[in-house]
Amino acid sequence: MLRKILPHPLLTLTLIVVWQMLVNKLTLGNLLLGTILGLIIPVITSPYWPNSPRLTSVPRIIGYVLLVIWDIIVANVQVAYIVLFKANANIKPAWISIPLDLRTPEAITVLAGTITMTPGTVSSDLSADGRSLLVHCLDAPDPDAVRDDIKSRYERRLKEIFE
């Protein structure tokens, strides 16, 4: 019964908090409207989220977010360097295929998003069975090293968080 009204309690809480931040003023009316949205949206969208992701450790999630933010800053500088100072002939783009150990769709989505936001890589496609990820590298003289780096740096941490 409770699962029918509240299919995703965490999503409900997130929506209420996000709504307060959007209106930027904490009043009873806003809180009420936020709560109504937080109750309705998860019910309407529940067909798209058949399973709830199990998140195990909050410190690990915060650690992951900080790591990704740091990597994004580094990525910006690296990509800017490649764009400004490398001749097009010296840039070696490559497609790489990353075999996935992650199985939950939420974890794979976060991994794909992280890859797009970080150093010189864009995730482009998933194999039809969801077991490997196609990534395009802007400048990868050694594609195998990029693959191992993504697996050890991001995928291992996401596996600890989601599975």
Binding site: N76, V79, D125
Partner: protein, 130 residues
């Protein structure tokens, strides 16, 4: 004074990265490589402007606003999705399955699996589940 300098530094950084992102669009030779410049360089470009706005609003105007944080959050959610859409469209239009590395699994990349093949595999899986 210190805050004003910080705000200016953030704005200059943001301007530089925005410019580099746009320059990358012109300079890089093919669509997949062009995709890298705006998905990244621009994140810091927009991020810098948002941090500057937050510092200015908080320390000089004296009212704190969550809106910049929200913009960052929405940007982080939408940038990878748009990047993925553009990449998949590009694969559809300009590439053959043989241009890409093998998936290492039994099935091809999702963009190149035909509907007929997908239906056949899914029907087989449903039969197995029953």
């Amino acid at each position: 004074m210190i805050i004003e300098i910080l705000v200016s530094v953030c704005l200059v950084i943001s301007g530089i990265f925005g410019l580099v992102g746009s320059f990358g669009l012109i300079k890089l030779p093919d669509p997949m490589m062009r995709l890298h410049a705006p998905t990244k360089a621009t994140t810091l470009g927009v991020g810098g402007a948002l941090v500057a706005s937050m510092l200015y609003m908080h320390f000089i105007n004296g009212n704190f606003s969550f809106h910049e944080l929200m913009i960052t959050l929405f940007l982080f959610l939408t940038a990878p999705v748009t990047g993925n859409f553009i990449a998949k469209t590009h694969l559809h239009l300009n590439h053959k399955a043989s241009d890409l590395p093998p998936t290492g699994t039994d099935r091809p990349w999702a963009t190149f699996e035909s509907d007929a093949m997908r239906e056949k595999i899914e029907a087989a899986e449903d039969a197995k589940a029953d």
